[in-house]
Amino acid sequence: MSDSQKCACEPSEVLLFPCSGGSNCGQIAHHAAVELHNAGRGKLFCLAGIGGHVKGLIESAKAAKVLVAIDGCPAVCAKKTLEHAHLPPQIHLVVTELGIEKKSGYLDFSEEELAVCRDRLAQELQARVAGAVADSTTVS
């Protein structure tokens, strides 16, 4: 292995699957995932590849410990796509359930709306990590 190549043999523990849909809520889901990715809280993953049944992506997703589906609206396409590939998410968030109204065809959103979604996701992830630590403590 050359020095310039980065080894990818440490799978990310948290994979983020936003629906990235065509509404303000879909875009909030997407941008919240991007911010968490950039903050090192998880890895933004390819939901389209899962939907396309790209075997390498599905097998890669199986290596993660926590799958997070972030849906914009009650259609819950991200969650359904993961489940269709037998990858049920451990964390599922729906943006409209955070008090944000869906506006189909409108992609704009406020910083405040994005913060609501991003912060809620961060809380869910934190709780999940804390729960995992508690579980491992109980087992041992």
Binding site: Q5, C7, H53, S60
Partner: protein, 85 residues
């Protein structure tokens, strides 16, 4: 003759996968041709995001972990999948 692709940059985990593949092929009596796919763009063509990965006849069978010899035996003995990768 089955073509097997070991996907990864060549770190010890990739080498362990290759060793398991050789052991499994010998155990089940299947002749194999091993291709080591190490360039990131070539690995990406398989959709593998976490290495090591393993493909049999171009079909990815696992990624992000080292499969056991027993698992690989099953993949080597299985009929090729009909669907495209």
């Amino acid at each position: 003759m089955k073509k097997v692709q070991v996907l990864g940059p060549g770190c010890p985990k990739c080498q362990q996968v290759a060793a398991h593949v050789a052991e499994a092929a010998k155990a089940v009596g299947v002749q194999i041709e091993v291709e080591k796919v190490s360039k990131p763009m070539d690995i990406a063509k398989y959709g593998v995001m976490f290495t090591p990965g393993l493909a049999v006849e171009g079909e990815v069978v696992c990624a992000g972990r080292i499969p056991s010899v027993e698992e690989i035996k099953g993949w080597l003995e299985a009929e090729p999948a009909k669907e495209q990768k």
